[in-house]
Subunit: 530 residues, 2 copies
Amino acid sequence: MIRHKVSSNVSQERSGYSFFVFFSECYKLSMMSTSAYHKLIERCRDIALYNSTSALLGWDQETCLPRKGVAYRAEQCAFMKGKAHYLFSASEVGAWISECEQEAEGEDSVRSANLRDWRWSYDRATKLPGELVEKSERVRSHAMSAWAKARQENNFAEFQPHLETIIDISRQKADCYGYNENPYDALLEEYERGATTSGLVHLFGDLKPQLREIGLAAARRSEAVPIDSLSADYPMDAQCAFNEKVARAFGFDFDAGRIDTAVHPFCSGLAPGDTRLTTRYDEKDFCSSLYGVLHETGHGLYEQGLPVEHRGTPAGNSVSLGIHESQSRLWENHVGRQSAFWQHWFPVAVEAFESLASRKPDDVINFTNKSRPSLIRVEADEATYDLHIILRFEIERELISGSLAVADLPEAWNAKFEDFFGIKVPSDTEGCLQDIHWSMGALGYFPTYTIGNLAAAQLFASAHDQISGLEDDLSAGNYESLLGWLRCNIHERGGQLLPAELIRVATGEDLSPSYHLQHLKDRYLSPALT
Amino acid sequence: MIRHKVSSNVSQERSGYSFFVFFSECYKLSMMSTSAYHKLIERCRDIALYNSTSALLGWDQETCLPRKGVAYRAEQCAFMKGKAHYLFSASEVGAWISECEQEAEGEDSVRSANLRDWRWSYDRATKLPGELVEKSERVRSHAMSAWAKARQENNFAEFQPHLETIIDISRQKADCYGYNENPYDALLEEYERGATTSGLVHLFGDLKPQLREIGLAAARRSEAVPIDSLSADYPMDAQCAFNEKVARAFGFDFDAGRIDTAVHPFCSGLAPGDTRLTTRYDEKDFCSSLYGVLHETGHGLYEQGLPVEHRGTPAGNSVSLGIHESQSRLWENHVGRQSAFWQHWFPVAVEAFESLASRKPDDVINFTNKSRPSLIRVEADEATYDLHIILRFEIERELISGSLAVADLPEAWNAKFEDFFGIKVPSDTEGCLQDIHWSMGALGYFPTYTIGNLAAAQLFASAHDQISGLEDDLSAGNYESLLGWLRCNIHERGGQLLPAELIRVATGEDLSPSYHLQHLKDRYLSPALT
């Protein structure tokens, strides 16, 4: 499921440090500095109250809301989001930011990070003319229902005019926001501060050819593992209990969070001390809910680890979608799909699930690391996932630049898909209509998934270098050293460094595709499947 | 659990009539009448958005919220409630109301009801000086934690100074609100519009002596039924399924509501199409969760039946706590504790619970109608419940009038309790510290419980007179005729008539204790226990 920025807009109470303490700290801090800064902090507090409440409205809608409550819920969400937007885009906020900027900043890195982010967000929030914002919202809600219908009926024509308007509005937005090189930059930045088209072209250019090779080889080697090789009865209650055991071992704090059932797995950092994960259950395949939980636990650990003393302000928020995704991918793939993981957890799983009694750990390891090309992105495995993203990145850029007309999208998609994966796309439903993102106007979102994969591999490699005995820890089901390293290098830094700088400081180099490629080669090419 | 007025501030979507349709109706209506009226309707819409969101925050806190999320949740609730209060008590609202009042009203009963209620609420909201409101909120939150501690430690002295301040503030509030005869009237009215001390003195004066007789006789006749006469294994899942079956048969719409687990059973009409009930489970006694659900279903049916075309405005809201309670008591006691109920449901219960296989319907009927005096109000049965209320009513009046000092409360409570029930109170925890109400400043709340019992009996008697074949319907588990009668006579009237008038119109006479007394005599004195 798409992660909404709003859901990570507030962070977490930790170690008994209460919200009230936090705000008195903030007030102290701000009283010592300037009145305008104080007002901005106070304004952030009110906005966080709206956003955290919106996040609860959203969580409840996905997990609990009765069918007939949906219409009014939409009103509630729009109202709360509107209030938050209004509070931040008000002219006094701009004046306070300018006032702060004119003052000497000294060495306060938190204050500079907050001001940097406020300035950027305020400009974004106020650069769009009101009519464009309104039009965009109106178009979006119609486009989302048209997309759902078009996908269900495999009828691209139904969605086409809506997507044309969305592309047009996206271009207008990019012009309003401004950009150095490429209008697509202005859209990217909404989801990943500092990312540029040229930077991604470079990263993805290195990745693409190697990913295609890895994907083909991985698929060949996985042919021996049937898709239903573990299929058996895994009762939902037993899955719940096992998943919770693993999430708790990773370090997820159940006094400050919970796991529920939803159609689309997601994590919502609702409020301090309240991070909620969801998953869905397939009673024939315990790995489906398990890896959903491991992924969302990665998100949840990030939310629970954000610096509570700055929460509600940019310095205390998660920094970007890419970094958020790096945390989920790290725990899901680098920890959870390792042999070491199953060395520790296989006996526990055998106790939980009678159906595993006759299995060996390798059966599970092979099952969870099988690879084969998939038409659908959300069903893709590690070895092929990023090709789905690169495909969308290339198409988005062409749509925005105008070199690809919306009318020609299905044909372009299908041709590219066959080129990348060697598979013919049988229908638009399984092709260019499969994702909700474009109908929501979220162009520039997809690349954050691969940024997350690259960052996950690079961070895990650094952690590996820096933590002595990490492999032993992981084989023993002890995750404290890894979580401690992530807390220190990522979580507790909140939004103080921009994503690229955060990766540089944590790993000693710029974001690079090499760690991810090496990881995929190690996993899919080096050892024979057992 | 105490019902918060806020939770019933919005009503329900029904029969596909959506929220959006409703507001366009309102706008039409208001555009035809006056601009000030239009503005008031619009303001109500915003207030309802805040209140419905507060209600979700509250529901979530009771059912889902992780422990460490509690502190921030308090901030969210206070923020949302503060916004709603501010929106309604703003000076322009007063001006709009005055403007409407100066116009000819014609025959529009909805408009007059709305104006009557807005005027009353606006005056209440603005008559208190800001300092008194602030002081009251501050005192309340301290008093609630002091009360919890005092109750736990059986230490009245811990709570005494807080209660003294609360009584003092309550008197000041009554003076600000104004009253004709008795300062207690001004407090009562917060929970039951139109109720007066003298009216209750009269009603309760008729009740008290007869209740004492009935209570004593009922207890003597119940001696033969052991308290654990049905004790056996009733798995929680089976209880859930059975309770849902009964609630559905009563008419509760599960597409517009749900049942969850909470420590304190409650019903929250969160929003249109979203009414939520809770109960708690005792796996040795299925009747505990069942009667909780039947009670809350009565509240829920009222919420689901409120007139959607007026929702968000007083005309579309539930009218009072007493009327709300009448609906829960009617379904719980008059429907659910009848022999007819078990004639239909016993075979279904036997299928649900293996432990009932060897039982007869009469075992369940006798168990659910046993009576014995209890120290604790919330554990009291029908035959003794109202005596607990009359005791509190008498004590509250003396506290407010000053004829009883707070320091003397335990002694006065214990003496009165022994007089009413013939039982010595062993501790203040089981005496004057048992209820949360006073710590919340809710003086004048308790009488609404007995108003609800009287109204339930009177309404059920009228329904019985007016619906031919009602007894056959109930014996057959068919509740449509009864629900239809309540929809028409109570639910769909929303807040258009004041409570006393509503009872008069529905039953043809003023609220009277005679129906309730007759019901108790029929149930506890006439037929021998079988």
